[in-house]
Symmetry: C2
Subunit: 471 residues, 2 copies
């Protein structure tokens, strides 16, 4: 598919190889900073991490580097390296430098902030999510410049590396608003998603959105004795169970009115790509599903499709009445359920919220009062058209770097890609080289170093190819 098939040693690969030792030393150093954004005790470390990154960018020769540290957002890092050709496209690379907590620390085989290397693997919090991938992008730019011999990249490159992604990016929209001019671009490269598998590299094409809500049914002002009134008054917990049961039909489809009206189904080509990926149900369950014993879900779709391209309604938590040890025979005064809906293009969180309110109203029995509390405005879904020239360019770059066929995949979770797309008004493509079993958010996070080097090569190839692809 690319010329590299007949050229086993393209200049980007050689450049990456030459910089690999330096890259590893640098990444190991960055990992020693415990930039845990969810823990206020580590907010100083988040700032240290931002300055570490800014210093690294400056050392690489980036002409414009800034730490955005003007609260309430934790420090983000911005850098810009203009192309020599003022007509060249501008690409914004998004990543984050904050990391997850390490609980429980005793579950780590290697210290989480030491950057221990064992064979091909580098262990440590953030090694994969997302310091490893941001470092990969820095390496990609260095390799690009080394491969072309030019003093500046072929596209105007901007890096935007936030410090609150693991806290849910609460100030991302504020940052985007405040720095509209800085962040203006023609394309976002989102670098916080994994490959499908080591033997099945993929290019991610989208993420599901999410809308969270809590529904509370209230019957009375206090729990009452079920002997005294049981059978004679509404039971809010029973009513809530009936509401939740009504959320899905027997085929696993969500029954909110109009829920599927705006759903864009994947193209035949995408479905073929997804179907061609290696998939072993038992392996998938073991790797992903926290000990779940079987797959389940919407009839007519594969497991990968169910978690990538189909919308869902899930109970995240349910509670009501007496939940302590033993028995207490009460009719609960109220019961609540936390729900989240994963959304796919072109579902809109606001429309789904409205549909949920209608659905709850229609399923609230006489004598019960319902309250629906939304958890924020939700995150919209996002997917790029797989025929978009930028998507094809990424796929070609990854295929060249990994020297094997590459397919499209998606991500079931939600992230800031849709916010970047909506705010900046440009397409978002994904470039990542980590693995789903890197144990991000868990003890013993690691990254596979040769994959990061391939990813850096892919990035370098992408920067070289983009001016022509986007012209």
């Amino acid at each position: 598919m690319t010329a590299d098939r007949v050229n086993p040693e393209p200049p980007e690969r050689a450049a990456v190889a030459a910089l690999a030792d330096d890259f590893l030393t640098s990444l190991r150093d960055w990992i020693t900073i415990p930039s845990i954004s969810t823990d206020p005790a580590h907010h100083g470390d988040v700032a240290r991490s931002a300055h570490w990154l800014a210093d690294a960018l400056r050392a690489d020769g980036w002409p414009e580097v800034a730490v955005w540290d003007h609260g309430p957002a934790l420090p983000a890092v911005y850098a810009c390296w203009p192309a020599e050709d003022p007509a060249a496209p501008t690409v914004l690379v998004y990543g984050h430098h904050d990391v997850q907590p390490v609980d429980p620390p005793e579950a780590w085989e290697h210290p989480p902030f030491a950057g221990v290397v064992v064979g091909e693997e580098l262990f440590g919090r953030g090694s994969s999510d997302d310091k490893g991938q941001v470092a990969m992008q820095l390496l990609g730019v260095r390799a690009h410049l080394a491969a072309t011999g030019a003093p500046a990249p072929a596209v105007t490159l901007k890096f935007f590396v936030e410090g609150e992604e693991e806290s849910g990016s609460p100030h991302l929209a504020d940052l985007l608003d405040r720095h509209t001019a800085d962040l203006a671009c023609d394309l976002v490269v989102f670098t916080d998603t994994p490959l499908y598998a080591r033997d099945a590299p993929t290019v991610n094409t989208g993420q599901r959105g999410v809308l969270g809500a809590e529904v509370t049914f209230t019957g009375g002002t206090s729990d009452v004795h079920s002997g005294r009134v049981g059978g004679g008054v509404p039971n809010p917990a029973t009513a809530l169970a009936r509401l939740v049961a009504a959320l899905h039909d027997d085929d696993g489809r969500v029954r909110l009115p109009g829920f599927y009206a705006d759903v864009v189904e994947p193209t035949a080509a995408e479905r073929a790509d997804h179907a061609a990926l290696p998939f072993d149900e038992a392996d998938w369950l073991a790797a992903n599903a926290g000990g779940a014993q079987a797959v389940a879900g919407e009839k007519g779709w594969s497991t990968l499709e169910r978690v990538w391209v189909r919308p869902t309604a899930e109970v995240n938590g349910i509670s009501g009445g007496y939940t302590g040890p033993g028995l207490k025979t009460v009719v609960p005064r109220e019961a609540s359920v936390k729900l989240s809906f994963r959304l796919v293009p072109d579902q809109e969180p606001a429309a789904i919220a409205e549909s949920l309110r209608e659905f709850v109203a229609a399923h609230t029995p006489h004598g019960v009062t319902a309250a629906v509390v939304l958890r924020g405005e939700g995150t919209p879904p996002y997917a790029i058209d797989v025929d978009h020239p930028a998507a094809v360019a990424v796929r070609d770059a990854v295929e060249g770097a990994f020297e094997q066929p590459v397919r499209y995949s998606r991500t079931g979770g939600s992230g800031p890609a849709a916010v970047l797309h909506a705010t900046l008004g440009v397409p978002v493509v994904y470039l990542g080289a980590t693995l789903p079993d890197d144990r991000i958010h868990a003890p013993n996070e690691r990254v596979v170093l040769p994959l990061l080097l391939r990813g850096a090569e892919a990035a370098a190839r992408l920067w070289r190819s983009l001016p022509e692809r986007l012209s």
Copy 2:
């Protein structure tokens, strides 16, 4: 209906009136003992309360009085006063001398263990449940003897006053087994139920049984991220909600297989009695239902029937997944529901438990594991045939004492009556003179003193009439 209609001052009434001051002094003294059986710190007070009662019985002239204090049961009091006629029937009066906790103490307008009298009301924990009614029975015996002038009661009377009723009578069966000969009788008079209302005195004819169970659905070994797997694995909380929703049909009937097979419907006469009782829905809700806004339940039955003579399935508590503040997008690893089934004659707890297990098995989806844990063996339901001579005798005695029409009622809750019936092999009738709004188990428990005096008179009348009624 009785001769008293033309004799406004029967000897029992005069006798009660003469003993009323002494009765009140004595009951106020008993109330000062905080005999809270659920609190180990008060177990010494439970013993003090037992000895207080034993002393009171001895002072009244009872020839045989014992405190059964041989563990693990908290002390119970037993007393026997044989009739002169060895052929006279033997009646066992059941009550309890332990009381509920007082939490929250600051909600009491009068100290809970001071026996404060305001007008016709005596305030204090146990004033109604059940020291007031036990004291009423002591007064009834004294009035009976005073009215007849005989040295012994017309029936052989036995009192059995346990000290663990508020703890669920955990050793009642043991006590009954251990004291089979002492407790042998022809009839039990159960004195721990209220009248329907002050202006609508009733004789209780039965209590519902209860079976408690907890059902847990497990999907995996840990909660998993709903973005990663949502839509692709079973959600135990959703599955549990579907199980609970399936418990009732749209008419509010319980869908456990065979649930209604053994249900004995009330007679036309009982239904007519229940329908004739004054019932205001708003008043009933305000007095009973903890602020519930409406009645609900099985189609085709009145509210009183729903809580008295119809069996139920109630959710007492439900929990699963994340239940803290805000949102956490997980697919829960498991979810649990605490259920209780109120049972009516002739439903058997063991059969209902078996039916529940079948029902759960039939509603457990692939990939989910179900566990059903029963909370003990359950309490069977009990009701006396309303045409039984003892039931008619009680109704006539109450009607005479209260000087107004008396109807039959039932109790929605569960209690030891069925255990007494099953173990002793004799019918159980109910004689109580408290009110549903006495705030038993709540702050500011009180009893209406003139009603207790009427109840004592009814008891005295009953003891006089029983030899003929049961002959």
